[in-house]
Amino acid sequence: MSSIIHRYTEMLSKKESLESMPLSPYNWSEADPSLQGEKKTLFGLCRHCMQGDCATLVHMEDGVVTGVEGRAGVPPNYGTLCPRGNSAIMSLYNPYRIKTPLMRTNPEKGLDVDPRWKEISWEEALDITANELKMVREEDPRGLVICEGWGERDTILRIPFRLAFGTPNEIGSHGPLCTVHYATGLIHGNFPVSIVDLEHCEYHITLGRSLGPNFATTGGTRKLTKALERGMKLVCVDPRCSYEASKGEWIPIRPGTDFAFLLAMAHTMLYEIQTYDTEFLINRTNCTFLIGPDGNYKRAPGSGKPLIFDEFTKTPLPFDQEEAHPSLSAACRIDGEICNTGFDLVRQGFVSYTPEWAETLTTIPADTIRRIAKEFVSAAKIGSTIEIDGFFFPFRPVSLNTERNVTNHRGGTYADLTGKIINMLVGSIEVPGGCLGSGYRGARAIEPTEDGTMRPGYEAEERPFTFPPDHVGLVEFFPNCHTTPHLAVNAILEPKKYHLDYEVKAWFSVGGNPIRMNAQPEKYVEALKKIPFSVSIAYHMDEPAVLADILLPEHSFLERLRVAPFYPQHQSISDEVNGLQMIQMRQPVPRLFNTMHVDDIFMELAERIGILRGEGGLYDMVNRGEDWIIKDHGLNMNPPYVLDIHKRYTLEEIFDLQIKGWKFGDGTGLDSLNETGYKAHWQPRKNFYLYYYYPGNQTKHEFYFHHLKNTGDRLRNNLRKYDIPFPGIEDEEFIFDLYKPVPHWVNSSQDQAPKEYDLRAINWKTPYFSSDVGNVTGNPWLAELYQADPYEAVICLNPETARKKSLKEGEKVTVSSLYGKIYGVIRVSELFHPDTAGISGGYGGGAKGGSPLNRKGPDFNALLSIDIDTLDAVSAGQEMSPRVKIEKRRNAQ
């Protein structure tokens, strides 16, 4: 493997280009003279980050796009726009775009091998692709893998196309480096993440994430600014002192040890402070449920209802028995078995996690952990209430939130769940001021099951087990995983080892790029070389494109018609958009090249394959689909506004029907939306807090993680049933150790690294790179900024660490993990924990024939691992803080 890595890094440092892709300057065609003097403004909708909802105005003059600015007075950005959004014009006028359909003529594939592209017509490109896909489908539809990603998130027909084709294999290339979804799905019934109520919060602890400023999001940053102005205390636990940490209290932490901090904070609350929101714990959690020695709920004979221990009668009663007084803390004997309450089991589980223990791992002084825990509990104002729109809520103005750099380690799901325990102890879940889910805000999110606890949502809901596995990404073995390109790559290379009974015959890139956006790039290259046919809906010559057989060039985002529902925001919420239901649109600018809209490509291909019309076809799947995140609040085909599955539609006609049937709409369609660019419907603000839908004791969150344990038990039973080992791992207890109902400390996958790997690499999103959307690294305006930024595209080291290693500012180094190595330049900074090698953004990588800007800077992801024993067993999240060593590069040019 090391020779492949060597080849990869060397290849990227070579200067010469490929013959069929000479980097001679592109000749732009002259603007249409008939448009001379014409001025117009279009309604835009940004797509330079994952959220993609900032309203813009796109100005044109003489047929040229001359300006993109935030649209004043319109939510959610109210005129503001981040640096990426302001650089949109360069995504349109990019000479490195793919301008016409291309076909490979060289059968040999490789990142540094010339595909010998031949220009072909759209007819040819679509016919060839459709024929290849049709053959795959006839043999076994599972042979097609669709790789989606941030490069193309405007499509509404990708999922219907996949369903009509009949393959389960859709894989998000970006997912395993951001597995932040399980605890939010379990506790809030929401996707994607948990956020903070910045309108009311008074004490906020944030770990491994951004509230907005770190990667410059418009709404998040403004809301945080306002919250700080009114006096909210912000505590940032982070190995790096970011702008956010600089505006609050920075608690530096050794990378990868956030879980230990969380365990110690919970320990302090459970053993030293012992002030809880008892009402919340008794009424709204499963804390009072009695647990048998097998770890499961003890159930009432007959009804099967979970039992609680009644404080007055001193007997076990069904949890929903009227007038019962459930004990938070109790032990009793039922049928000869000793049972404890869920609360007691969690508390007992945390007994050894003292702040002193955590100090040895995190380097955070024990007294600091104690102080933060005390401040958090006292700021929670337990017992207080607030009235919103005539409804009385518990008021808990504190929230602790965790994300990517907490969850992306072995044990990361436990860490996320421990954060939930901390919030639950003070009752700050789904009430004003507290920790909220983001996404679907409605009763369906926290609807109780017959056990009284809410139904786990999204990724907390386990996927069914089938054997042999259907999914090339091995989701059968990781039933709560996020996306799994890292598992698919192994299964593609060695299907038998991973129990697959079919081979992958075709790869379809739709905005996904695992070579750049995942780990061990050389393995993905091998996998793509092995797959007989590869097609890419491509914006520019990225890695999957240079390895493809056919390139189907797509519009840049400004050229792309889009109508989309507004998703409640990812980072925080405040009075600005609380209660807002909205649809927005983007009016396209004229296309520059021989490109197509991604969804027109899907319709054309489906028609040729014979899966567009009729029952089970693409249109049928559009009719049957529901917005995955916001369900009935989104844009769906609501009767009578459904597609006739035998007719052909334009994309405009599909949007028109969706808009007319929108739940919060006024019955008008695309024409009316074209006049305003957006339609807003304001619901009462009380609707935003899920407590409102099931107040008091009407639904319960899991405090004792019964569902997680049950998922693990079922997975183990299935392995026994089919008599198979867990694939890709020696000792399956390494997996099942992470399916316990009470979180416990687990060793990092990096603990066994040799001593010279003495630092841990960290990564963060930046104002110039929030994710690989719209090829922001190839954007020359943004490149000018990051090149001037002292902390970008460099290896950041604490001065003390640099001194010990005799490394100086500007020195050229090699950073190596157990999985890969990268080159970089040292930047010495006081803003980093001494055990850290800080590497920002998503630089480096790149393919020959693409923009040279894409190849600059250190590629953090090349330090990461796809090995199963390094993953979090629940989410399949990859380790984001690999141990690394740093060495001077002698004779470096």
Binding site: P25, Y26, W28, A31, E61, D62, G63, V64, V65, T66, G67, V68, E69, G70, A72, G79, T80, L81, C82, P83, N86, S87, I89, Y93, P95, Y96, G212, P213, A216, T217, T218, T221, R222, L224, T225, E229, C241, S242, Y243, E244, S246, K247, W250, P252, P767, Y768, P780, W781, L782, E784, L785, P790, Y791, N798, P799, S829, E830, L831, H833, P852
Partner: protein
């Protein structure tokens, strides 16, 4: 009427949205930025902080750049906005030396955004405003201001750290903020009287 700007460093998050909004509005060639944001750190680990300092032209009431211009290319417009007439500028660069704020840049060459590539249609149209061998700088988005709009950097600011208005009007937001926070110009060189004020953060 005297146009001025307040930049609240307590709110600024150093994201450079201002720099790019300015680029998009004014179409400055590669390497020429009317707005620059300096990023730096203060203090020692573990109490260090990350800081930023956005720097537009200060639009001094008493601009040293104007005094040294031999061709009267630099002039003060209504409301005190300082601009350069590229037709009159001979590129002597005396103004660059005179400016204490490094607000001005000399255009040695009109550089395209994509290295080794030709000018895009956007550049062809926008670069008409610039000429090789002349000096360029922030113009407080004078065209926008004349239409009653705030400069692009103020309009785009994601943390609402920039406020634009009339310094002569004691009731304006800028005047109130300056009074409330005792906002001060950057390097108050005697006599230049900048129209940009900073709230310390």
């Amino acid at each position: 009427m005297r146009y001025g700007m307040v930049i609240d460093l307590k709110k600024c998050v150093g994201c450079n949205a201002c720099t790019i909004a300015c680029r998009s509005q004014n179409g400055t060639p590669a390497g020429i930025n009317f707005n620059k944001t300096k990023k730096y750190e203060v203090g020692r680990y573990p109490t260090a902080k990350m800081k930023s300092l956005p720097m537009p032209c200060m639009h001094c009431q008493n601009p040293p750049c104007l005094k040294v211009c031999p061709t009267f290319a630099t002039h003060q417009n209504e409301g005190g906005i300082v601009t350069i007439d590229k037709e009159k500028c001979i590129g002597c660069r005396a103004c660059i030396i005179a400016c204490p704020y490094e607000s001005r840049q000399f255009i040695w060459k009109i550089n395209n955004y994509y290295e080794n590539q030709k000018a895009t249609p956007y550049e062809k149209l926008k670069f008409r405003k610039f000429e090789r061998g002349t000096v360029a700088k922030c113009i407080f988005c004078i065209d926008r201001v004349r239409e009653g709009l705030p400069p692009a950097c103020v309009h785009t600011c994601i943390s609402e750290a920039r406020i634009f208005g009339d310094l002569d009007n004691p009731e304006s937001d800028v005047s109130r903020l300056i009074a409330l926070h005792q906002a001060a110009p950057f390097r108050g060189e005697p006599g230049t009287e900048p129209s940009v004020f900073y709230i310390n953060g």
